[in-house]
């Protein structure tokens, strides 16, 4: 399961996509919208993607994990558009026969998503906005 979605992410769907009686361990990671970042109060976030390349990169991560941890299945879903506080921006589920692989694959997936998948996050504050990772900010 690989998805870029404008809809709310349901962890149960991620779990169902990878679970199975051949696996004894399932690790799930959820990134959620936090109310503060580097000392500033965050009101909401907006995510934008280069969709076809982002989907390709997510699929590469999925294939890479299946090769590095045989028997491990992952589901990778990233939300796009505007998100309120507490909402899930990214969801990763990894099921494996054993827990070492489930944890390692889940961790690897989120690190790779943050490194190579073309998705961008914009923070909205009471007095401005900022594309995270860019030096500039502006008052809206």
């Amino acid at each position: 399961m690989i998805e870029l979605t404008d809809a709310v992410i349901d962890p149960a769907r991620l779990i169902a996509a990878v679970a199975g009686p051949d696996c004894g361990a399932l690790a799930l990671f959820l990134g959620t919208v936090r109310d503060s970042h580097e000392g500033r109060k965050v009101l909401r976030l907006s995510y934008e993607a280069y969709r076809p390349m982002a989907l390709n990169k997510l699929q590469e991560i999925q294939i890479e994990i299946a090769q590095q941890w045989p028997g491990t299945r992952v589901a990778l879903v990233h939300r796009l558009g505007t998100l309120g506080l507490g909402e899930i921006s990214v969801g990763i589920a990894a099921a494996s026969p054993h827990r070492d692989a489930a944890f390692a694959a889940c961790r690897h997936a989120i690190e790779q998503i943050k490194a190579v998948v073309p998705i961008w996050k914009k923070e909205f504050w009471a007095d401005g906005t900022q594309w995270v990772g860019q030096p500039e900010s502006k008052t809206s």
Partner: protein
């Protein structure tokens, strides 16, 4: 000399600064990713600081500075990624 036609896509802070999501551009054969960025920085000085932080993707793969862009390529200007 026939020129190569590129489709250039912009995202996030760069897209907002330029006010454009996509443009068609004609470049001389042999134009590399680095040369394209240099040209964009020259033509859009208001986005030059942002364009100093980007990577280039051609046909949905990241490419090196020295990568030569081909006719018909879809070129994406990729600001620092911040998904997750």
């Amino acid at each position: 000399m026939p020129m190569n036609r590129l489709r250039i896509k912009f995202f996030a802070a760069v897209r907002e600064r330029l006010g454009v999501e996509e443009m068609a551009l004609e470049v001389a054969p042999g134009t590399t990713a680095a040369l394209l960025l240099e040209r964009l920085r020259g033509e859009y000085p208001q986005a030059a600081p942002l364009l100093a932080t980007v990577r280039v993707a051609a046909n949905q793969e990241f490419v090196e500075d020295a990568h030569v862009l081909g006719d018909g390529d879809e070129v994406a200007i990729i600001p620092p990624i911040s998904g997750g």
